[in-house]
């Protein structure tokens, strides 16, 4: 008996694509706001960035960006190759 492959339907993949895209807008907005709440030059200082990385909420935001953009971006490449 052949093994049944459980693949996502195209409509489900597109829902994931849209959800990751909209979620990415929010988390990237928070990421940019963290650069704008202090003068831009100061926001790139080593100590300020290390203090950002010690904030667990911000670390969660950065990890979310990594996951969401990776899913959305590489699925976007798949869509470009298909359509």
């Amino acid at each position: 008996m052949m093994e049944r492959h459980r693949m996502l339907k195209e409509s489900q993949i597109m829902k994931i694509h849209y959800i990751t895209g909209i979620a990415a807008i929010f988390v990237v907005a928070v990421h940019i706001l963290m650069r704008l709440i202090v003068p831009f030059g100061s926001s790139l200082e080593y100590d300020y960035i290390i203090s950002n990385y010690k904030n667990i909420f911000y670390v969660f935001i950065l990890e979310s960006i990594l996951v969401l953009i990776s899913i959305h971006g590489f699925n976007g490449i798949r869509i470009i190759l298909l359509v």
Binding site: G41, L44, I69
Partner: protein, 148 residues
Amino acid sequence: MKEIEHDSRNNLEGIKGWLNPSRYGWERISYWFQRLTGVFLLIYFIGHVYETSTIVNGQNAWESFLELTQTVWGHLFLIMVIGASSFHSANGIRLIFTHVGIGLGTPSRPDYPYSPSSLNYRQKSGIWIALILSAAAMYYGFTVLFGE
């Protein structure tokens, strides 16, 4: 059974057809921009993760890498990233609405001059809103990056 001859059919434009926006409307240019900005932002994202990862090598490594990016050309590149991400987000939201059927208009009989109801003022407005938001975000980015 007679085989279909394919040699005489020279109608495959390939990537040239995809890249040629001259004979299409704003909708096609928007389709083209959405893909170009998407690929550009994915490349930037990978580069940005690599760039910021230099911080694990200590303060000197971070500051020497920052000197490479905090230049006039580096700031102009960031303004392009701001424009691309704003357009991609705003136009992406328009495409989500379109995909779920919002803003497409009601179907009608195709009469001459065959203007499809789906390419209506709502779609055109959405494209213009995306372009205007993108220009405004680029202007704001310019004032932040070059205003210091």
